[in-house]
Amino acid sequence: MEHALGVHRLHFAFTITFHYIFPQLTMGLALLIVYLKTKALRTNDEHYNRAARFWARIFGINFAVGVVTGIPMEFQFGTNWAAFSRAAGGVIGQTLAMEGVFSFFLESTFLGLLLFGEKKLGRIGHWWAAFLVWLGSWLSGYFIVATNAWMQYPTGHRVDSHGQIELANFWQLVVNRWVLWEYAHTMLGAVQTGCFVMAAVGAFYLLTKRHESYGRTFVKSGVLVGVVAAILQLFPTGDEQGKLIADHQPVTLAAMEGLFESQKGAPVALIGQPDLQKRRLDNPIEIPNMLSFLTYREWKANVRGLDAFPQDQWPDMVPLLYFAYHVMVGLGTIFIAVMVLAALMLWRGKLYASGAMLWALMVCVPLPYIANTAGWMTAELGRQPWLIYGLMRTAHGVSPQVGAGNAWFTLIGFMGLYTVLGILWLFLVYREIEDGPEPDEVLQRQPAVTEAAG
């Protein structure tokens, strides 16, 4: 990697991958905290408020790391991708600036109130703080996905005579088919991370026989929300994303599926290794005709393979793209299985006593992080060799004056800093989980006394 381009790509890939560990959890947890606060309001049970407070603390740690690792993302558009920024800043700068103005201020203000203002705000006010933190974090997600969606499926713009890309229709940029499906799919992924983390902590408490009342609440909340999210992730959002890719990035679809040759009744490969030299899939295990059906709802439909496109249009890392996509889909399938099974056992009243199922929920915790990362890798590697699909190639977007030496210097700096940050983060989150929520027992003395008096 003596060329600057590769280093700049790795620079962005590394910093965004590390960064996205945090927002996927905070966006998911924000929804679950609103769920717990709503339960608290409805049932009038202080248990749910204490549960919400516990998760708000974990949210706070993740939010802090998410904020400090997020600022470098905005800066890098200018520092490492100056040519891209110069050409397209008038378009994607809109959504990025809106994120700052509409969501970050909202989030930072109401997170302060969520963490430190419970007494002052009262029950309803504190619910609103939780709701607005959720709104802020999900708006933030929307603006980022809208930015990415425009790079995948540019629309609402015009290219002037100097090659400048300018905004021509604001609403087309902010609301279009691509952004809506990509947003739904991304958010469901974040919700699953939140659900798996919550259920895993609950399972951990039940298995270690500590904070068991919370253990049950966490497992139940995680599984109930998680089962819905896991299914919606596949259908309709995953399915619709697939169709959009088939329509607008057909060469990407071929690369993702490892389909080298165009064929009628194309199969879906479950396992297999793409061999670029021989242009085939090694050791394939396939479901015949499935890809044709999924893409066009016809068993014998013709699906274009990589051979239908000139090689300079292919994504430049076909094997990695293929595996990223397969890891995402494979894990997504596992999530549906685990969550549906857990939900059935919950319904039958057997979940809290089932050691095996609780173990399964607990060890699943890294998997949604991997699936979310693999999903983004699919989107970003699939967009290659384009930076803005069909408009600007990645090689043309890089900062012309920032050489490989300087890019390596800062990449290594980020790697060192993020390693330390990652260790500290794991340590802090683990400590919060070890400490657990405020015990129910102590505060339950109140009703016990009234009962005795009555």
Binding site: E74, S85, L96, G100, S108, G112, T410
Partner: protein, 352 residues
Amino acid sequence: MGTLWFCLVAMMITVYVVLDGFDLGAGAIHLLVAKTDEERRQVLASIGPVWDGNEVWLIAAGGTLYFAFPALYASGFSGFYLPLMIVLWLLILRGISIEFRNHIISRVWDPLWDFLFSASSLLLAVFFGAALANVVRGVPLDSTGYFFEPLWTDLRLGEQTGILDWYTILVGVLALLALVMHGALWVQMKTTGAVNQRSAMFAANAWWGVLILTAMVTTITFKIQSQVKENFVTWPWGLIFPFLAIAGIVGVRFELVKRDERKAFFASCAYLMGMLTSVVFGLYPLVLPARNPVYSLTISSAKAADYGLKVGLVWWTFGILLVIGYFTHTYRSLAGKVAVAEHKAHSSPEIA
């Protein structure tokens, strides 16, 4: 439309400097004004609930700059590659040292967090000052519209400048002293006891440095950036900006002597606003002067197309009104001195 956005971006940056400026200043003097754990928690509690929101102004200003002046964002950010990356690292260190100190209840780690918090704040102040000085002095832009500055070359104001030369270092020191004064006045206003007295002393001492360096830097700036003089001669009404700065700096002294902590802090805000608006006024219509003036980026050469700027004005106005609401509410509810519980090892400030 371009000029309007020039003013709006300048306003956002000014708000950032005034707000996060006191966080950085408080950080820079943290180790010296607060000796015991309780005192240090007083300093941290004075900025704890607000620093994060203040920093958002930087992100929002960055985003706004990006969409309104894409060519400036591209040239400036890639040209200032190294200092910006260092600024990012410092922002990360500052953020986590404030947040993690609250979460790790172990005295062993406290000196590390305090040191990181203080060192990163101090260096941020210097780098921001030096960055501003780079813009004022001009950068080695060429016909491609790009440049790249190493951190330093020969520390002179030649053709191939580095980020650091004697002028930018001088402005960096001025920025540090100005923010030390600003932060000390904030800490003074928010605290009681020994911290309050020490920060008053810091503000009073930093004031002399600010006064002398402001005079020096202003004189030199007129010499090295001809646009500044031209603008003040063409539009003499612009002198209200430097007058605001002068009124601010005089006001700080006056209120310090009178011991009015609130007014002293507001006078310092006026000084910072006056200084920044003077710079912005002096550079207009340049957004990034080049060492060779032919290649300077101007408002019209750097701005985005008018349609986007018009659309932006609609949502931006709406968004900023909301933000003003949040900030008014937050600062109101936090008014008065901070109280730090003595018995608790680490207390989170409860909003009163």
